[in-house]
């Protein structure tokens, strides 16, 4: 993995030192250097950097970080400062930075810092969303695929999907992908990867939407070990603004690990007129230990008819807890789309389904307004 580095540094002396460090290191190439942040923002793109060292010893640093993350969504931004600014560091990270380095630094310090940022990342502003269902046939994969697409399009931010339904993973089929690598290889290699190299294990669906497909064969189930899977989720945080994880149904080490690593877990079931709501409530009880259960666990019910606000409230009242979203019964639309290797969101125009998915995307991304295709 080659790092193509862009340096933004007001101090001429530091700029020269850093450039020398980069040029001395195998695996790193100096893409460009700027003393003026605005120049870098305007001209930097032509050098296609994937790593940016950004001087934050200035007043407007936080907004600068934000500008750079927006202008260079595919690059990792590492802030450089003369001294550790504990308070501001988390602001920078929230604005999109991957790490923080103290100037000046030696080649070895720089290399190990980049490796450590790459592997563990710093806390970041990304949102990891896990989609969990007690039993199969919940409409989970259909929702994840469409929601990922809606999030990618409305926010314009990087969205990643991890198909961790290790046995019968359908995400590749839903997106009509023929993956060169899957979650099995990603988890196997995770300790040698950086976020930038991890990206190549994902299949690109749209410029800002990537999918890590599941295993091709159910006998491979044993090859995904949990600590590595957790490391994969952690590292994916630094690649994507939103990470959506499809997990096997029921409680298993994989689904539990994903839920624990997530900011939000969507507990899902499909109405079929039997005992699915009892199963839903029973599954929900297992999450009662979470102190912040109301924020972290959200309930989504699919195949709801009529799919109205009144019905959502009725279900919430009956269940005794809030139902975050309901998805209408559009079996024909959903199955026709899957049969054709298309995403349900893209079929049938402004269907009730796409409206419901769009509303959920809005509630996740807060500011962005969904417009039906």
């Amino acid at each position: 993995m080659l790092y193509n580095v862009l340096i933004v540094e007001r101090n001429r002396l530091y700029l020269e030192k850093m450039a020398a460090v980069i040029q001395s290191l195998p695996g790193f190439e100096l893409a460009a250097r700027f003393q003026e942040p605005l120049e870098a923002l305007g001209q930097g793109k032509v050098f296609k950097p994937n790593l940016i060292l950004l001087d934050i010893d200035m007043d407007d640093a936080s907004s600068l970080v934000k500008d750079f993350t927006e202008e260079f969504p595919k690059a990792s931004i590492v802030c450089t400062g003369e001294k550790w600014q504990g308070d501001s560091a988390s602001h920078f990270v929230k604005a999109g930075a991957r790490g923080y380095l103290i100037k000046p630094f030696t080649a070895n310090e720089f290399k190990s810092a980049i490796e450590s940022f790459a592997k563990s990342g710093m806390e970041s502003a990304s949102q990891v969303l896990t989609f969990f269902s007690p039993k199969g046939k919940s409409g989970k994969t259909t929702l994840v695929a469409s929601l990922a697409l809606a999030l990618a399009r409305t926010t314009g931010e990087q969205v990643g999907v991890i198909d961790a339904d290790l046995q019968f993973c359908d995400m590749g089929l839903f997106f009509n992908l023929d993956p060169a690598s899957t979650i099995v290889e990603a988890v196997r290699d995770i300790n040698f990867l950086s976020p930038i190299s991890l990206a190549s294990y994902f299949c690109e669906v749209e410029p800002n939407l990537r999918v890590l497909c599941g295993t091709r064969n159910p006998s491979l189930i044993d090859r995904v070990d949990i600590p590595s899977f957790e490391a994969l989720i952690k590292m994916s945080r630094s690649l994507f603004r939103y990470v959506l994880i499809d997990v096997p149904s029921g409680f298993c080490p994989t689904s539990i690990a994903a839920a624990e690593m997530s900011d939000t877990t969507y507990l899902m079931t499909m109405l079929s007129g039997t005992y699915e709501l009892q199963h839903l409530s029973r599954a929900r009880e297992m999450f009662q230990d979470w102190e912040d259960i109301d924020e972290r666990l959200k309930v989504v019910i699919t195949r709801v008819s009529p799919c109205s606000e009144k019905e959502r409230q009725r279900l919430s009242n009956d269940l005794g807890y809030s139902v975050e979203a309901i998805i209408p019964n559009e079996y024909k639309l959903v199955s026709e789309a899957a049969n054709a290797g298309r995403i349900a969101l893209d079929v049938g125009g402004a269907s009730l389904f796409s409206l419901a998915v769009g509303r959920l995307a809005e509630s996740i991304s807060l500011h962005h307004h969904w417009e039906a295709p």
């Binding site: 046995q167 359908d170 006998s219 009892q278 199955s335 290797g341």
Partner: protein, 276 residues
């Protein structure tokens, strides 16, 4: 002593997709075999969210977890004395439900399941097993133990077909005898644009052993009332198809005009006849 050597038939219902009707069909298989006079036990190994007790409206039944505990204390414990009994119209069969608590389900081992099934088959002529839709260690153990695996499928949409193909190939790779695995198609005339023949030819490489009609209304009513379809009077197509499937398994000819109200009950089943 000779009783110890008796080994009842174990029929496991398996699939690679959820909501294909495993539970409903296994309940009806158990009920129909019992109606014919066999000693039958239905065990729910869909441990976390099993629906056997729900569909029979026998919530609070003895569970496989209870059975496992008893066997841990005494490996010869007669589970037939522990199992709950489902009775309707003079027909009864044993039921071991899924565990009450999710923690009991989560920590349930394949070894325990094996001990339970092996103990059950010493008493019952037929042990019917409901499972989850995945190749877990538990399910592989149950599949190994089984006399017959009923691999249930629906021709639904492409992802389901893909998983049915993968499941079928995985089952083939386990090197079971060809006639141990029976491909059964459920809900054959449900709303789908996919051709069943095409699925048979291109995906499975063999034809379905049996086909069950789609009758959502009858199936749903059975779930709502808790009464197995084969124990009720209305003889719809699905009920006939279910009886036919059982007839295929027992090598009996299914007679349309079988006297339904007076089950042809043999006391104690054919084992007792053989060994009494």
């Amino acid at each position: 002593m000779i009783e110890d050597k008796i080994s009842g038939v174990v029929i496991t219902f398996f699939s690679t997709a959820s909501a294909v009707g495993k539970t409903l069909i296994s309940i009806n298989m158990a009920a129909e075999l019992a109606r014919q006079g066999y000693r039958v036990c239905l065990a729910d190994f869909d441990l976390q969210f099993g629906d056997v007790a729900n569909y029979l409206q026998m919530q609070g039944s003895t569970t496989v977890y209870n059975a496992g505990q008893r066997l841990a204390e005494n490996s010869d414990y007669p589970l037939e004395e522990l199992a709950s009994v489902c009775t309707y119209n003079d027909v009864s069969f044993g039921v071991l439900a899924a565990p009450e608590e999710l923690s009991q389900a989560y920590n349930f081992t394949a070894d325990t399941a094996e001990r339970i099934v092996n103990r059950l088959r010493m008493h019952y002529d037929y042990v019917i097993i409901d499972t989850t839709s995945m190749f877990s260690v538990l399910n592989l153990t149950l599949l190994d133990l089984s006399t017959i695996i009923t691999f249930l499928g629906v021709v639904d949409f492409i992802p389901t077909i893909k998983n049915m193909k993968i499941g079928n190939e995985t089952l083939q790779s386990l090197n079971y005898d060809a006639n141990k695995i029976r491909l059964v198609l459920n809900r054959s005339d449900s709303a789908t644009q996919l051709s069943i023949r095409e699925v048979e030819e291109k995906t499975l490489g063999s034809s379905f052993y049996h086909v069950l009609s789609n009758d959502f209304h009858a199936a749903n009513e059975s779930v709502q009332t808790g009464i197995p379809l084969v124990l009720r009077k209305n003889n719809n197509q699905l009920t006939k198809d279910l009886r036919q499937l059982v007839a295929l398994y027992t090598n009996h000819t299914y007679q349309e005009d079988a006297d339904f109200d007076e089950p042809t009950r043999k006391s104690g089943g054919w084992f007792s006849k053989l060994f009494s």
